[in-house]
Symmetry: C2
Subunit: 192 residues, 2 copies
């Protein structure tokens, strides 16, 4: 408490994400997209960089990666930096707009290695992505003893009414395997 105004906050990915992401590739199918989100979650755990969660935002039609995120809560001392939140913010910085659904923009898709928590579900609505692909389920994350916050069937129904298309449980086993790795390595449960 020794400065009158808190410093600015910087949100940046670890350099190693470039070893996981192929920025030139067309991630064509839903499974291609989800495998990238899960690969990011796995590498985040293997490097001891954060929680077992990864996410990526794609242009749906071209399959190009716009931005990715990895859970960075502990690494950056910032409770808001779930994987989805990083991916949304970096994607919006890249396109230079506060929504990925602006006039003339292509459809954007989020792939996340786990169902979004309450915060990330809300941000998904504000982000402008039109499709959402989820790997592990809320119950899977809670079995790992992460709190996921107040998300209900009616929360998802709200997003669907707004026109979002949502798939749950895509490559769930592969996503849950990363949770198992996290548990085996003794990873921190920062909000249990």
């Amino acid at each position: 408490m020794d400065t009158p105004r808190p410093p600015a906050v910087a949100i940046a990915l670890p350099d190693w994400v470039d070893e996981v992401v192929d920025w030139e590739r067309a991630y064509a199918t839903d499974e291609d997209k989800m495998r990238l989100a899960i690969a990011l979650s796995r590498e985040n755990v293997a490097r001891g960089a954060g929680g077992p969660f990864g996410a990526a935002v794609f242009e749906e039609a071209t399959g190009r990666v716009v931005a990715v995120g990895v859970n960075s809560v502990v690494r950056l001392n910032n409770c808001t930096l779930h994987a989805e939140m990083m991916a949304f913010q970096l994607a919006q910085a890249r396109v230079g707009a506060f929504s990925l659904a602006g006039e003339g923009m292509p459809v954007h898709t989020l792939a996340t290695s786990c169902d979004p928590c309450a915060m990330c579900l809300g941000a998904t609505l504000w982000s402008g992505v039109r499709r959402v692909l989820c790997g592990a389920t809320r119950d899977d994350a809670m079995l790992l003893r992460f709190d996921e916050g107040p998300v209900f069937a009616s929360s998802w129904a709200y997003l669907k009414r707004k026109g979002l298309e949502i798939r749950h449980g895509l490559l769930r086993d592969e996503a849950v395997a990363v949770f198992d790795l996290y548990r085996a390595l003794g990873g921190a449960i920062y909000n249990g």
Copy 2:
């Protein structure tokens, strides 16, 4: 789409917040705290800096301001930068921890000029604040045509079960007056 990796994102307050916040003052009462949140919302509108929403995080016992936030969605092209989200992140940067409820920390209180949206409600849970003071209501914001996302009575009940103390409608009329100013000035509804 011309760089392989999106740039880092920087989250910083406008310089004028130092004209609104007294970093040395003890904001003793709930009303003192709320008046600061509302003053930030008002100045954000008057300066054309963003939506009519302000927030501040305090040490409950001393009344000292740890960090503040103003809606910065349009200014920083970032859908996640609601006032509460800025305040949480800047507070955590200042204390150097990903939770404001860490071992040995004092109780922290959030004052926000409007009921949190779905995203901010989730982040409130992760932030570690133990008390939440809200000014204008969700219905007030929706009358202004802002979408607030999936927040239900059960969402608030979830936070209360986790031990958070919550007050709604504190100085509501003063908070709503800022919404009226925003409408009169033709402010953008960025997520309607």
